[in-house]
């Protein structure tokens, strides 16, 4: 496993073309690789290094900094229970404890059937809906113990398939920049004043016409 598939390679090239420097596409490409395999393999990181023109060590250096990138297999569903201050005040820690009991794994563990990986995490930006969790980065708000058990049951039995894709799939709607509409990536070198500013300046000095 783990070089990008043919389809994903096409997507990767589209993403790289949006950036002035290929390396800027690295984080989106790491997401793409993780979407394909569920986690980041060394082969995938080597492939991305080739694509953006850096060393595999540089790719690892970036990947290892960010919490969302998993460098070993995880469950089909990664459940992140928030235990930060706002969630803790209204039961976040107790919810994580209950989740450990329900799934039979400790914080950071993966269930034997490979379905769930559980994490107690820092703030996930849903503080007024506390206690909250994310399943593959999809929110559940004001989660009770019963609500957690129902969620796990629904996920196990495929009742959440349309809402929660497998781990690694983030936005299912991707940005698409049509070739005929694209203004194009602006490289840092050799640029002059943009046309609309130049024409405005010319207008101000009476040398041109307004757009």
């Amino acid at each position: 496993m783990a070089r990008l598939s043919r389809d994903n390679l096409v997507t990767a090239q589209e993403i790289i073309a949006r950036y002035p420097r290929p390396k800027s596409a690295l984080i989106p490409l790491l997401h793409l690789a993780q979407e394909q395999d569920g986690w980041l393999t060394e082969d995938a990181m080597e492939h991305l290094a080739e694509l953006v023109g850096v060393t595999p060590a540089e790719v690892l250096g970036t990947a290892s900094f960010y919490e969302m990138f998993k460098r070993e297999p995880v469950g089909r569903y990664v459940i992140n229970v928030c235990t930060d201050i706002a969630c803790s005040l209204v039961g976040g820690d107790e919810l994580l404890e209950h989740a450990e009991e329900t799934l039979g794994v400790r914080d950071g563990g993966t269930t034997a059937d490979g379905m769930f990986t559980l994490h107690g995490v820092q703030c996930i930006a849903a503080c007024t809906e506390a206690p909250c969790l994310q399943t593959n980065y999809r929110y559940s708000h004001q989660v009770t113990n019963e609500g957690f058990d129902q969620l796990v049951d629904d996920l196990r039995n495929g009742r959440k398939d349309s809402e929660v894709p497998h781990h690694g799939v983030l936005a299912r709607i991707r940005q698409s920049i049509p070739a005929d509409k694209a203004a194009g990536a602006i490289v840092p070198e050799g640029q002059s004043e943009p046309a609309w500013l130049a024409s405005a300046a010319a207008d101000a000095s009476g040398e041109g016409t307004s757009s």
């Binding site: 800027s24 984080i27 201050i85 709607i173 490289v187 840092p188 943009p194 757009s211």
Partner: protein, 461 residues
């Protein structure tokens, strides 16, 4: 919303304020182009394209719009810091919101992505940016989907891309995803991350982004809420915008109120005339279970805590600063009388220790030590001099433990971990001492003691 001038109500009596950034939040399909156009969307852009870019800069400067990301720097003034004649210029939108208590920007991106995109287009036109990057926190899958869909609609309709609406204005707006790192919300770390690197802050100076940002080219980094204000300002005029709010903070602001309140939520309120009491007791429904307030974090986890006597402070940056804290990200976390101050303090410090990028030693080592010392106190293994030790470590991260903090670090993350400790120790020292009085000798001679067993913040512990 339209491009006709709506005059706000006069300042006497109850003021019916326009919703500047939340007007569509309750509408069905508020995230779609159809809804946005039907409610006046993209009229500010159409109008702007008939004017000189400098006129847009002047309007935003006249509105005195302060950045809504936390630092509160005037947006129009920041735009003016790009050195003349240096091209290209980039716009980077900071949508990497992750400070505990804060989530207004996520809601703005999910519910009204076109308002943000129009703000981006107005800023790029005014500043002269031919490419913009919308950096969205990685964990916010729905916000990414909504923005991607909105950008696709905007490209198809000719609002974004080459020769926008038939003009000579062309700009690509690229949706970029983060991958989970709080520090990336710091603007120079955001730029590092956007270059494909580990998200570690750059030293300022020399790397003020407006002069040397992305690829060391002039780069404007603006927050999501800041840019979302622009369509209203351009449609209604700077005068209308600056007619409400406070002298030092014009317009409205989003506040997220969470914790021990009956009606937690995100509220758009007027600067200056609204107080913390209004927010907590009126908008957020008061303290849960009829309990008394113990303390509250007034502006995101990095802000020093406030107490009962601060409730009537106006929501205005100057007044809050003079009182020893900050409005910051607009996040208010309320703690009632049942809260264990030591545990709450540990929770906040733990966040900053976890999120330290590791670049600066005082932050990398100091926040970790703070967390471990608090942990052993909570486990009943505190030592007699631990409170002095905590303050000593704080002093090494932020000398004088003053406000605003003096830093020994490149960015303010480390000093942010100092504020809960200094706040809690100043006000609730007896709670720390109670832990120490009941302490048993440590079972092992380690700093942190055993793995946490049961450290909860709320009343049930």
């Amino acid at each position: 919303m339209s491009d006709t001038t709506e005059t706000p109500a006069p300042p006497s009596g109850p003021r019916e304020l326009p919703k500047v950034v939340t007007s569509r939040w309750d509408l069905e399909d508020s995230h779609t182009l159809a809804r946005y156009e039907a409610t006046g969307g993209y009229t500010a852009l159409r109008s702007a394209l008939t004017k000189a870019p400098q006129a847009i800069v002047d309007e935003v400067k006249a509105a005195s719009l302060l950045g809504r990301g936390g630092a509160g720097f005037p947006a129009g003034v920041k735009w003016g810091f790009c050195p003349p004649g240096v091209w290209p210029r980039y716009l980077v939108v900071n949508g990497d919101e992750s400070e505990p208590g804060t989530y207004k920007d996520r809601i703005l991106m999910e519910r009204d992505p076109h308002q943000l995109i129009e703000g981006v287009l107005l800023a790029c036109y005014a500043v002269g940016c031919a490419q913009a990057f919308l950096y969205v926190r990685g964990e916010m899958a729905l916000a990414q989907e909504r923005i991607a869909a909105a950008l696709n609609e905007a490209y198809a309709a000719g609002y974004v891309g080459k020769n926008i609406l038939g003009s000579d204005y062309s700009v690509d707006v690229v949706l970029h995803w983060g991958a989970g790192a709080y520090i990336v919300g710091e603007e120079t770390a955001l730029i590092e991350s956007l270059e494909g690197n580990r998200g570690m802050p750059r030293l300022k100076p020399p790397y003020f982004p407006a002069a040397q940002g992305l690829y060391l080219k002039p780069t404007i980094v603006n927050n999501v809420e800041t840019l979302s204000n622009l369509p209203w300002i351009l449609n209604n005029g700077a005068e209308a915008f600056s007619s409400f709010g406070a002298e030092t903070s014009r317009g409205t602001r989003l506040f997220a109120v969470s914790g021990h309140v009956n009606n937690p939520g995100v509220f758009e309120v007027e600067f200056g005339t609204t107080t913390y009491r209004d927010l907590i007791y009126t908008h957020a429904g008061g303290i849960r279970d009829g309990n008394e307030l113990k303390c509250f974090i007034p502006g995101g986890a990095s802000a020093p805590w406030f107490f009962e006597e601060h409730l009537d402070l106006p929501l205005e940056t100057g007044a809050i600063g003079k009182a020893g804290s900050m409005m910051g990200s607009g996040a208010i976390v309320v703690m009632d009388e049942t809260t264990d101050a030591v545990k709450a303090c540990w929770k906040v410090v733990k966040f900053f220790a976890h999120e330290s990028c590791g670049k600066c030693t005082p932050c990398r080592e100091g926040t970790d030590w703070l967390e471990k010392i608090l942990e052993r106190i909570l486990h009943g293994h505190g030592r007699p001099n631990d409170l002095e030790l905590l303050l000593d470590v704080c002093d090494n991260i932020s000398p004088g433990i003053s406000w605003p903090p003096r830093q020994t670090t490149i960015c303010p993350l480390g000093p942010s971990a100092v504020s809960p400790i200094s706040s809690a120790l100043r006000r609730f020292r007896d709670e720390f001492e109670a832990y120490l009085a009941a302490a048993e000798p440590p079972a092992v001679a380690s700093v942190g003691g055993s793995v946490p067993v049961d450290i909860r913040v709320g009343a049930s512990s």
